[in-house]
Symmetry: C2
Amino acid sequence: MSLPHAILGLLNYMPMTGYDLKKFFDDSIGFFWSAQMSQIYRELKNLEEKEYVSSEEEISTKGPNKRIYSVTNQGVSHLKELLTDVPENIDEDNRNAFLLRVMLLSNLGIEELYFQIQKRLKKYRKDLKALQSVEEKLQHYLQLTGKTETLIYWKITLNRGLHDVKSHIKWAEESLSELKKIKEEKK
Amino acid sequence: MSLPHAILGLLNYMPMTGYDLKKFFDDSIGFFWSAQMSQIYRELKNLEEKEYVSSEEEISTKGPNKRIYSVTNQGVSHLKELLTDVPENIDEDNRNAFLLRVMLLSNLGIEELYFQIQKRLKKYRKDLKALQSVEEKLQHYLQLTGKTETLIYWKITLNRGLHDVKSHIKWAEESLSELKKIKEEKK
DNA sequence: GAATTCATGTAACTTGTTACATGATTTA
DNA sequence: TAAATCATGTAACAAGTTACATGAATTC
């Protein structure tokens, strides 16, 4: 699963322009998959070449014309295939720049580590709020697409996000209290 | 923080060859940052050009020669700078291919989702075991480097991994039980 | 009147992945 | 003796990021 699959999947909910897709991305799956405009336009071009999507230009009297993309029959079959075959070696991209930082912060000392985790904790709490607003946005898209049966899939997806943020908060709090102990011992 | 920083940071623990680095990577930070041999060699070359590391060839009577890399003074300063300045817009790469799959699986139905999450749960349980073995490996490297003060940093890092896997397991179990309910309602 | 949003793209650059190439040593 | 490990790299390709470019409509 990668960017073109994400695009194909989102377009399958409803026909959209590249610009719409970007918004949909940011509003819904942004917390686990982001994409830049330049990437989206490039991938749309690739997908059209492979005939997984087709586009129509909507001439607009005011403002620039829109190019509306929709998934072709071939595109749907392709998507279903992708979803069916589960790769055996599910090695994910678990890159975590902050953890790398933590691991190497011994070069700067405990105080700095404490400070940076504290800052992080604030970010996680913001993330939590942001995620809670994703829930409303998803509701909105659900109505737009009219596909009520997808609710459970989106709920489960979103729930992963919530578990994730909460686990980060717990870890940060735990680490801070452990670091506090060490700091006090040193005195 | 990115690959060259990881390499610089690991080399700062002790001088190593590219090959050693790969092992260190896989044994320690592999659960949140992986790298391929070809990447490592390329980055070592880049780092040497920038004079953040220097290398010496160790002529070997048996087997191929080794090129041992160590961090220069400039490299250490650079590393400390990187660690000190915390970027304001900490937008991480949170890509999660499996979540993308879940989100789009409405195309195939509840049974398939249940099956795929079940499979995933097994993987998470394996991951948990693997992480527990990382703990031992880190102990080993700790002795090699002789830098006992880094223990707390590594423990906190590893702990994040444990929190992460556990949160995945909890989420999977929760989702499965919810899906089970829906499946039974349909009957 | 300035900034933001809508709307689409190109170009250059950086990073990551896959495949290929070589050859010695150690283990099963 | 075959496979795995040690050890180093190159080349081609794929994907992601950043910067640039254009221009209308809307909002502050």
